[in-house]
Symmetry: C2
């Protein structure tokens, strides 16, 4: 019987190059809110999503791409020069179907490009809205997996760790897990899986974003399987697998 592939959890982009991620699947996690928005927009029929790390690139690409919209937020407000924000609620099917979303985020996009530069075989994005799609893909691929949390300015955060724990709980019997981080993530998730709406109110990110009236957004972002698609990075864009 072949050995099971490995699974590791990485709590901050700073810790990515502690591991050899070559020939592996990297799951980029940015629960509040980039990867939740990505899953939602693709679920609602977006053609593709181009993640970019700078506002000027977002504007330039938006102009160059037919039927596209630009989006990005800083401190809960749409960035000047862009058209839309980083809330999943802004992307219902009636609006986003068939369009290309050019999205600038800070933590998640940086990590996605780091994963590609460090030789990841496949990069996908994960969030509670597409939890099952992520788990099914990981089980089916039979490759080493890194659950990579985007964190906030490199600081470890609870919401991304919780999602890593949710994945581990579902897939662990298919992987070899010698990783204290994964054990802790699963513990934290298991302790709070039936209490998520309350628990996220304790996070630093909640306190940062709730002042902008985003409570409903944040609750949506920890709701499982309401946008169950698999965003996979190919040819500079995230598309549905």
């Amino acid at each position: 019987m072949a050995d099971k592939p490995f699974l590791y959890t990485i709590l901050s982009p700073r810790l990515l190059d502690v591991y050899d991620i070559s020939n592996s699947i990297v799951v980029v996690i940015d629960v509040f809110r980039a990867t939740s928005t990505i899953a939602t927009a693709l679920y609602n029929g977006a053609n593709k999503i181009i993640p970019v790390d700078a506002v000027d690139k977002c504007i330039t690409l938006g102009k160059a791409t037919p039927n596209s919209i630009t989006a990005g937020e800083r401190d809960g407000k749409v960035i000047e020069g862009l058209q839309h924000g980083n809330s999943p609620a802004e992307y219902p099917r009636s609006f986003i179907e068939g369009k290309t979303l050019v999205l600038t985020t800070t933590n998640g996009t940086k990590l996605l490009h780091m994963a590609l530069n460090n030789g990841a075989h496949t990069v996908i994005t994960g969030s509670f809205p597409n939890l099952n799609a992520v788990c099914s893909f990981l089980i089916q691929q039979n490759k080493n997996v890194f659950l990579a949390c985007s964190a906030w300015k490199d600081r470890v955060n609870i919401e991304d760790t919780l999602f890593a724990g949710a994945v581990i709980k579902e897939v662990k019997k298919y992987f070899t897990i010698h990783c204290d981080t994964s054990l802790m993530a699963e513990e934290i998730y298991t302790a709070h899986e039936n209490d998520m709406y309350n628990f996220i109110r304790k996070t630093t990110h909640w306190h940062r974003l709730a002042q902008y009236g985003l409570e409903k957004d944040l609750e949506y972002c920890v709701t499982k399987n309401v946008a169950n698609v698999l965003p996979i990075y190919q040819n500079n864009a995230l598309i549905t697998h």
Copy 2:
């Protein structure tokens, strides 16, 4: 009323420079086993402990220091050229009293020097055997605090996180804590504080060291307040406060 000082938890040396630690107290944590051994040797009357990051430095300093012994392990064995290992059980009062211990470790020593280079005001070491001494000092100083885990080759580990959680549980009312890592550390500790001997058997470090017959050592290293001194770094050595 003055604001309370801040407290943050840092899970890996790689994350240290995400934070501004200047004018702060840094608690270096290396539960298995450097900081547990340091507390024990000082509790048992060691004159001082000189932590060094390389074996040749350890040998040279050992020769140059009167009434000293050299110590260090790799893979559970005393390093060739040194006299003793990294087990707290090797340092009873009958042996260590009045001596200087020149100790080479990898993860803990590296982090200690990083903290000094990044401008920490005070560096102390923490472990379960000296938990209360650490907590009393932190409460009394009224300075910002960073609980800094040594990790293992930069990978986050459970045992150091547990100790951070134990400190937080004791001192939290004296600090402002806007830090998801601290919340998670406290949760993990609270979930397992009455089950430590079993829980540590799940860690990667247990599996690494137990094969060398160090189970009793590791259990000692999660026993609270059996060597209740405060090791503080002054003039290139750790001494009792």
